[in-house]
């Protein structure tokens, strides 16, 4: 192996640092860290926390409730990424998988454009695509809406739960008890928003930020870069994932997002409502907006469980500290979305438990 993990670990140990807490804000990082066993290798003073980086996990219960209600309407097909199928709404155990067993039509697709194809194949049905994710999935979702418009597919619509990273990070940093010294920034999101998309972290908050790839080698190198910045008292954006991330990101993809979406106030699990943090379809695309088309309404969910996903995704609690973790809440029977999503912090900790 040309990459010598031990050497990097030694270099981290050699830095003069107190206890530092670094946060990753990407579900794929969460999984890669757990799967490679990286936490078991790092020195004890370097802690890795999972932030609000799993799109499924940050979608609040009341929005899932609205989706579940929509799924039961006759003549409607819900199309979605696989992760969403088992996410419970505010009632534990109630999810799209259960609704499917009760007669709802739910199809798992790999790309939003596949949902448009399903719409073309089922002209007598209404096809709703659940748009989940951050800047990574937003351009592809925009492409699906534009494709539907171009081909005159009227029975396709988008239920947008899309979100953007910056407002959420700002809200998190401003929140009480925030205690993180640097961010491991999501490589996939950065391919779209570029290095410049994370400049606000050092500029406005003096927080180091390193854009990281997804191999364990990438993540360990990025952790080292963050530690070195902290040891040297610096804060800047460094790009470890240069093989994929250009400084200015992908302007074409951003233009496509711009064409379709506008920012709106949005609800986040664990963070509450954040101004300008969600992406809604622009008025001129209203006929493709499932919320408008079907008059979707949201009911405030009564908090019925002791699930502490909200604290987990803001780095206040490690998954194992939640009283439900591994007992009442398991991947087979999840209470909170962090346990159900394959990228959720709790699922990662459960599936890839450290020795």
């Amino acid at each position: 192996m040309s990459f010598d993990a031990q050497r990097v670990l030694d270099a981290i140990r050699a830095l003069e640092l107190g206890e530092i807490r670094l946060m990753e804000v990407c579900g794929t990082h969460t999984m890669a860290i757990a799967k490679s066993g990286l936490r078991t290798m790092l020195p004890e003073n370097v802690k890795l926390l999972s932030g609000p980086g799993c799109p499924v996990c940050v979608t609040p219960g009341e929005v899932i409730d609205a989706v579940l209600e929509l799924a039961m309407r006759p003549g409607l097909i819900i199309t979605t990424y696989g992760d969403m199928v088992r996410v419970p709404g505010s009632t534990p155990g109630d999810n799209l998988a259960r609704r499917r067993a009760l007669g709802a039509r739910v199809e798992v697709v790999y790309s939003p454009v596949d949902a448009v194809t399903i719409a073309q194949e089922n002209p007598d049905r209404e096809i709703v695509f659940l748009g989940v994710g951050f800047e990574t999935t937003a351009p592809g979702t925009a492409a699906a809406v534009l494709t539907a418009k171009e081909k005159g597919v009227k029975n396709f619509s988008l239920f947008s739960m899309l979100k953007t990273v910056e407002p959420a990070l700002r809200a998190l940093i401003a929140s009480e008890g925030f205690n993180v010294q640097g961010f491991l920034c999501p490589g996939h999101v950065a391919t779209i928003i570029g290095e410049e998309g994370f400049e606000f972290l050092p500029r406005d908050y003096a927080l180091p930020a390193v854009i990281s790839g997804f191999e364990p080698e990438d993540i360990l190198s990025s952790v080292y870069l963050l530690c070195r910045q902290l040891a040297e008292g610096k804060s800047l954006v460094q790009n470890e994932y240069r093989r994929a991330v250009a400084p200015q990101g992908n302007p074409l993809a951003r233009a496509m997002m711009e064409k379709c979406f506008e920012a709106r106030r949005d609800l986040w699990r664990g963070l509450g409502a954040i101004e300008q943090s969600g992406l809604a379809l622009r008025d001129e695309l209203a006929e493709y907006d499932a919320e408008k088309k079907f008059g979707v309404t949201y009911k405030a969910a009564a908090k019925t469980t002791a699930c502490r996903c909200g604290e987990v995704i803001t780095g206040r609690l490690s998954p194992a500290q939640c009283p439900l973790f591994g007992k009442r809440c398991t991947p087979e029977d999840p209470v909170g979305p962090c346990m159900v999503s394959s990228e959720g912090a709790c699922a990662a900790h459960y599936k890839y438990r450290a020795v």
């Binding site: 066993g37 990424y81 394959s342 020795v355």
Partner: protein, 332 residues
């Protein structure tokens, strides 16, 4: 026969007879079946191994196999890993109204070939037709009887120091089916669907002290190994680097958000054997087509009672759990 299967073919009347006589009897021909009794009368043995399984795979045809081949190999393998020599299969079809006869014939032909290759006879069966929309093309149940030749295989026989051996690359079937379902990268990956009774015989007749054999189907290698040690005082320690995984499978897993250790296999064996007989088992495996990529992937230890622990290729270590629910493709 008609081009499609109608409800009449399940009526028990003339068309049912036609389906049996025109398609099933010629394909599975043997004297026990041809007697066409309500059950087959078979030559026996003192101790039998008996197993059954239902096959509901979607899509019905996938690279490397189809539901018919799977239905034969799956049950043959369940009997073989118990130390039985598989002899007879039953076969029950639940066919959806409107299913193309040509497809059914392909499935039946595939079953006949798989049975012949595995040296088993399909000696009794049943056909039912359900209304359109109430099935998924065709479901097949097979039950298998084998004569017990190698008694005593059990995870309870594991001892500290034993070697954990896999007969070849991991995750081929699960990823091939998942990709075929998604319409992506078809033909790139093939299911490993195969009868393993030859491989089992080779291992068990080698004289090696074999503790247990298991075919890691649903839930994959990780789940099967967890079952070996759960509730016991022993643990299994794996080395990720030694587990054979095809590059294509690795790439597909990466893309779909799956884990090869949890993907189904339909032509692989896990074998735990005494450390000193490790070479014997490997030689026996590698002498067969199905076992040519066999590798020792770990050891039985006493360090983490009841747990499977893996040293990752990166140098960390973690506990492997049983599969929870079905693997779902991820968002990004």
């Amino acid at each position: 026969m008609d081009e499609i299967i109608t409800l009449d073919y399940g009526s028990g009347g003339k068309k049912t007879s036609r389906l049996i006589e025109n398609m099933l009897l010629p394909a599975f021909s043997n004297s026990a079946l041809e007697a066409l009794g309500d059950g087959a009368i078979l030559a026996g043995a003192e101790k039998l191994v008996f197993s059954t399984d239902s096959f509901v795979v979607s899509p019905l045809f996938f690279p490397g196999g189809d539901v018919g081949k799977l239905a034969v190999c799956g049950t043959v393998n369940d009997v073989a890993v118990c130390g039985g020599v598989p002899k007879y299969l039953s076969c029950a079809f639940v066919i959806e109204e409107g299913f193309e006869t040509e497809k059914l014939a392909r499935i039946v032909d595939s079953m006949a070939r798989a049975a012949k290759a595995a040296g088993v006879e399909i000696v009794t069966g049943d056909t039912k037709v359900v209304e359109r929309g109430r099935g998924d093309g065709v479901y097949i149940n097979t039950a298998g009887i084998g004569f017990l030749k190698y008694p005593g295989l059990s995870p309870r026989k594991l001892q500290a120091g034993d070697a954990v051996i896999v007969s070849g690359t991991v995750g081929d079937h699960g990823t091939a089916v998942m990709l075929a379902r998604s319409g992506m990268m078809q033909g790139e990956l093939r299911s490993d669907c195969a009868a393993l009774n030859g491989l089992c015989e080779a291992i068990l007749s080698s004289g090696a002290a074999v503790r247990v054999l298991r075919d890691p189907t649903r839930g994959g290698v990780a789940t099967t190994l967890c079952e070996f040690v759960e509730g016991s005082a022993l643990s299994i320690e794996l080395e990720e680097e030694k587990i054979p995984v095809r590059d294509g499978v690795r790439a597909a897993c990466e893309m779909l958000g799956l884990d090869a250790l949890y993907c189904a296999n339909e032509g692989k064996l896990l074998c735990v054997a005494a450390e000193e007989d490790c070479g014997k088992v490997l030689d026996a495996m590698r002498a067969t087509e199905q076992g040519k990529d066999a590798a020792v992937i770990g050891r039985v230890t006493e360090s983490y009672p009841g747990k499977v622990v893996m040293k990752t290729a990166f140098g960390g270590s973690r506990i492997l759990q049983k599969l929870a629910g079905a693997q779902l493709p991820r968002i990004c």
